[in-house]
Symmetry: C2
């Protein structure tokens, strides 16, 4: 078998190129530290729709269309669109792509979906099954809040470890040719459940999955954290990031100077009252497709490991006393 | 670009082989016409679990373990498991695999998930990214009924077009080597929404997607229905199958003698009071991994097109007045 490194990692003879990205975020995200790096900041988080689910769907659709426009491509150029979101039965994605004339592969990896999409997309493009593949995910604070937590009008206190679901979407177009950052390796995560049951502490639930995938990536590739300019996690937030860095150190990998987390970067943690930081499929996708992609194109970053993390429960199964399984998928990107 | 035929189809230089399958069904399915073809018929649809969601998860887990056992493989032999189900946030799959030591890719394609899984799995195995990939899906009548429709205790009438969600799971192991039926082509569907809004008529909502993918498959491969011994849809049921056959005829493709539908095959439609037939991710997966795989291995069938179909809505978005988008993914199998 070619292309396989160790148990969880594959590498590419023909690394797919991220030829273009698009990112859209909501009003709150548009006031955060990364505000200058997004393509679009919404002035109306409803996007003119009558429900939050439809708003999220429209957010995803507009972001995909913007990516096509920026790449100067037509829908007919795209061989596959790989998309997902957090909503029940992934309706954010399904209603966003139903007007598209593009073969569709639906994914669910909770907040890990963006790197799951880029992982599968990379394999499909690299192997010659596609010239172009679009990777697309979104989340919306309002649709997530009512689905996973409480009605928007409910004035409950949030715990210090709670995270704020990002209103945002990101779309990356992978291609077998062109110029831009390349995806060189994909490390696919396992489902890891260390028994955390607090749904207001997703960071703690997801950190063990991030650790598992990160160690697998270093072992499979024989790389150390020094190899990368940035090791970017999706939405571990303040609590999960601290756990990751501390436990990685105990495992012999010092990522202290390399680690960044999209959930910590997208908001002013103190000033925007987001407690432990941002979360959601749209957190990693908007930060990667915005800030990180720009920095790669400008050669301010040249080697980045992007690892979105997802918590794979639903509210009902937690009420039934279950713990929270999680997963993390990593893609290594170089320019 | 190699391997691509037309807009939606890919073919394989190294066709992946379905080296083994496993199927498990519930008590009602175990009294149907295909009862002798399943590996396991449950004598207790709860599987000893305290909630229907956990029952479904255990159903999927046991089916995966049985497939490994039948194939004489260890978890460490499997490079990827690609799984999904109908439950919110796919908890059927996530809780089934959390004890597995296998890299995981989570999919959501509603009842189309089995062929989505086999499509992506085929590409990954054929391209050399994996020696072995497991494709796994499930559905459970009780967990689906309470999530999508009514409490189990609710004694409402079902409409004639309503379908009965299959309690069942199927697991197929794909490999780059070995003997067995091969996956020669994959045709990936687009999301198609023709405006059907009746969630008690999934067959009508899904039939247009099945037609779209089937026409794409014939056009891309330059094949006609005559090429196949069987054209198998997932769960169009009685209503959707009639629509499919009739509209395909109008499009110039006579599939009348070739078409079978898992939802019509798994139950005695009249005798088991299932109205328009079976449905669910577990319908196509248990019938394919049971009856169809056996017939292929016995050379009673040699060329089969398997196309699972999925309705991509959730109950909330239908209440918001939306119609039902659907999708169908086809895999061509030969021995």
């Amino acid at each position: 078998m070619n292309n396989r490194l160790g148990r969880q990692t594959v590498t590419f003879d023909n690394p797919p190129i991220i030829i273009e990205t698009a990112s859209t975020v909501g009003q709150k995200e548009g006031k955060g530290p990364l505000k200058s790096t997004f393509d679009v900041i919404l002035d109306d988080d409803t996007l003119g729709e009558k429900s939050w689910e439809k708003s999220e769907s429209m957010l995803q659709k507009k972001t995909a269309l913007l990516a096509l426009e920026k790449a100067k491509l037509q829908q007919s150029d795209i061989d596959y669109i790989l998309a997902g979101d957090l909503l029940n039965q992934c309706v954010g994605a399904h209603y966003s792509v139903r007007d598209f004339d593009i073969p569709f592969l639906g994914l669910y990896g909770a907040c890990s979906t963006m790197t799951e999409s880029m992982s599968i997309g990379s394999m499909i493009v690299s192997a010659g099954f596609a010239d172009y593949a679009m990777c697309l995910t979104s989340s919306h604070f309002c649709s997530s809040e009512i689905q996973f937590r409480n009605p928007l009008e409910y004035g409950g206190q949030r715990t210090p470890s709670a995270q704020w679901t990002v209103t945002g979407a990101g779309c990356a177009i992978l291609s077998s040719k062109g110029t831009g950052p390349k995806i060189t390796h994909v490390t696919t995560g396992k489902v890891i459940d260390k028994g955390v049951t607090d749904i207001s502490n997703m960071g703690a639930a997801m950190a063990p999955a991030a650790i598992d995938t990160l160690i697998a990536h270093f072992n499979d590739t024989h790389r150390t954290p020094d190899y990368y300019d940035m090791i970017l996690t999706g939405d571990l937030g303040v609590v999960g990031s601290d756990i990751l860095v501390e436990l990685m150190l105990k495992e012999g990998f010092d990522i202290r100077t390399k680690h960044k987390d999209c959930g910590k970067m997208i908001f002013d943690i103190e000033g925007q009252d987001v407690h432990a930081g941002g979360s959601g499929c749209g957190c990693c996708s908007s930060v990667f497709c915005g800030y990180v992609y720009r920095e790669l194109k400008r050669h301010n970053l040249s080697k980045v490991l992007v690892m979105a993390t997802g918590a794979l429960m639903n509210p009902m199964i937690i009420e039934q006393g279950e713990s929270i399984p999680a997963i993390a998928h990593a893609v290594a990107i170089e320019i």
